[in-house]
Amino acid sequence: MQSETLAALNTLAGGLFLLCAFGIVATRQVKGCLQLFVAQSVLLAASAFLLGARFDSWHLIAVGVVNLIAKPVVIPWILRRTLHEEIYTRREIDQAVNIPTSLLAALALVILSYFLTLPLLEAVDPASRLGNVPIGFAGLFLGALTLAVRREAVPLLIGVLAMENGVFFAGIALSRELPFIVELAIASDGLILVFVVGVLTRAIHKHVGSTDVGALAALKEESGP
């Protein structure tokens, strides 16, 4: 394929990636949230493949393959193994901030990330001057916003994972020559992360009786027993 076509497809993948990040902020169903995360990870892998083809980099293609196996396949499998089915089918009734407000905040964060990355794009070498960088920063910020507005355990975990997806989305443009072993280790770290948070969620479900972790707010200074 020609370089322009690849670049256009990469931009498309970036746009859809951002759309998924918006969806993760605003979807009420836990299951829907997970599906959006899977879609986002596939788009991340697609972008890695497209950039790999454009720059003839086997390394980026390998990163894409690792992402394609670890995130859309293994992570949902680990979650299914560690968590009870009931947690999946939950719906969040009240979020900490209502959906229109959080979407407006998300929009502001995207504009902010384009603004913040302008000086960076001028400084990096020309081959890294891609739309991936601002979109990756935006993915990071939207993941953090998800952590701020959601109350259920699984969507909060997906917020953390979406932050990492954002980091990788910028990373495949910024640090193409990072040793592959490091990428592999970071990916396996992500799997341990899902396992540990999954086990913790199960413990909370068992001992507290709910996975509405937003309701866990006993530890603070003002009120004590």
Partner: protein, 479 residues
């Protein structure tokens, strides 16, 4: 070889805990491995003093003076924590069948911390920082109470959020190094490439790492999880979390300072000094109104992390020496404080400051330790924390940073009175009920004696090799 053994021993102990699931084997494996690691850490420190660095794999696994100092501190606290856990967990654990699980996680946690100073590749270091969070999550939530699980959840989500931000920082740092034509992504390689790096990239990278890992260090305003996690975990784990884990993560931030100092025209020193002072100030005022004595020591950790970061930001060799001396004295004093708090919890069964009165009559060992620990951590004169804080004041005055030093003195004074006021009420206050005597488990009293001896001796006498190590580590931060 030594470096591999240091990292492998706790992993081996964890494997034994996992495969046998027998409490006695788990305790023995943890004790033996932590003692061996301590011996090896001392050997590494002497090798570093003899020929400057221990290299296991070029550009991947190596230790210099700063790493050797961190290894020593981790190994020392891991050893005392292992001995304290022995008696403490027997008394406190409601479910003896799960004790192996505690030791499994403890060993994995120690393993992940020991790997951080011996790795020199920033992204590999990041992986192990993430692992420290994941391995300690189950320790924080070990007691499975509502409060412990809440603390574990807050700890994990905020730390992971911070880690993701820091990872982006390290990737930006990598691109900055490539833009400067650097080839090896190590702390050394970064310093040598730094003068040619684009300032926009390096500044963004530093802010991302400072905010990201600052969350895990407990720097204000991202400190909110810290008093929860550091108070709900079992006391020996608190000693590790507060005493060394926070400093090990701070060490990663300190590793970036020489890189930044080599880039002309950056305001990073201002960032470090102001972030540090805000943490010290906020923690000093929060110390006044605590109700829970373990939370009190946790806030004191926030205060000390701020002091260290501020001292590192002052920039001169004397200030770096002060910062690292503070790392050493804080680790010794804070781990002792949490052992004393654990003993007080064993003796009284309550974490509330208002519920503990006349502790010195109920358990003289716990009461005396708490008093000694409170004096040491607040920075009363004969103790080492006073000396390290004083060396920071002196370095700051030599740099003519009068405003920063003035504020630091003020905040430390507020913190001093707050800690001693609470400790005084707990130790000497009039008990409401009749006091019965209480005996601590032998291993706990043993650890209290050893830790107290370390705290007292370090204030009077700093061994020559340790002084050398501190000075070399400070020099490596200054160039």
């Amino acid at each position: 070889m030594m470096l591999f053994a240091i990292v492998a021993l706790p992993l081996l102990a964890a494997g034994l805990c996992w495969s046998t699931r027998e409490p006695r084997v788990a305790v023995a494996a943890t004790l033996v491995s932590s003692l061996l690691v301590l011996a090896l850490a001392v050997r590494v420190a002497f090798s570093v003093l003899a020929d400057n660095a221990v290299v296991a794999i070029e550009n991947a696994v190596a230790a210099d003076a700063l790493s050797a100092l961190m290894l020593l501190l981790i190994a020392a606290v891991a050893t005392t924590a292992a001995f304290f856990s022995w008696g403490y967990m027997q008394r406190m654990s409601h479910d003896p069948g799960r004790i192996w699980f505690y030791y499994l996680n403890l060993n994995l946690f120690i393993f992940s911390m020991l790997a951080i100073p011996v790795l020199v590749e920033p992204t590999l270091v990041w992986i192990f920082v993430e692992l420290t969070t994941l391995c300690s999550a189950m320790l924080v939530g070990y007691e499975n109470t509502r409060a412990a699980l809440e603390a574990a959840w807050k700890y994990v989500t905020l730390s992971l959020m911070g880690a993701a931000i820091a990872l982006l920082g390290f990737l930006v740092l990598f691109s900055a190094m490539r833009a400067a034509g650097g080839e090896t992504y190590t702390w050394e390689g970064l310093v040598s490439a730094a003068p040619r790096m684009p300032p926009a990239l390096i500044q963004t990278a530093f802010v991302l790492v400072l905010v990201g890992f600052g969350t895990k260090v407990g720097l204000v305003p991202l400190h909110t999880w810290l008093p929860d996690a550091h108070s709900q975990a079992p006391s020996p784990v608190c000693a590790i979390l507060s005493g060394v884990e926070t400093t090990v993560i701070l060490y990663v931030i300190l590793r970036m300072l020489p890189v930044l100092n080599a880039v002309p025209g950056l305001e990073t020193q201002l960032w470090a000094v102001s972030f540090g002072l805000v943490s010290v100030g906020t923690a000093a005022f929060l110390l006044i109104q605590v109700r829970d004595y373990k939370r009190m020591f946790a806030y004191s950790t926030v205060e000390h992390m701020g002091i260290i970061l501020m001292a590192a930001g002052l920039g001169s060799a004397a200030a770096h020496y002060g910062a690292l001396y503070q790392v050493l004295t804080h680790t010794l004093a804070k781990s002792f404080c949490f052992y004393a708090a654990g003993a007080a919890l064993l003796a009284t069964g309550s974490r509330e400051i208002s519920a503990v009165r006349g502790l010195i009559r109920r358990s003289p060992a716990a009461g005396a330790s708490l008093l000694l620990g409170g004096l040491a951590i607040a920075g009363a004169p004969p103790f080492a924390v006073f000396l390290s804080e004083f060396s920071i004041f002196r370095a700051g005055l030599a740099e003519e940073r009068y405003a920063a030093v003035g504020l630091l003195v003020l905040f430390i004074a507020i913190g001093f009175f707050a800690v001693l006021w609470h400790v005084n009420r707990m130790v000497f206050g009039r008990a409401s009920a009749a006091v019965q005597a209480f005996r601590l488990p032998a291993s706990c009293s043993g650890v209290l004696v050893v830790a107290a001896a370390l705290v007292v001796v370090s204030g009077l006498y700093l061994p020559e090799p340790l002084h050398d190590l501190l000075q070399r580590a400070a020099a490596s931060m200054t160039r």
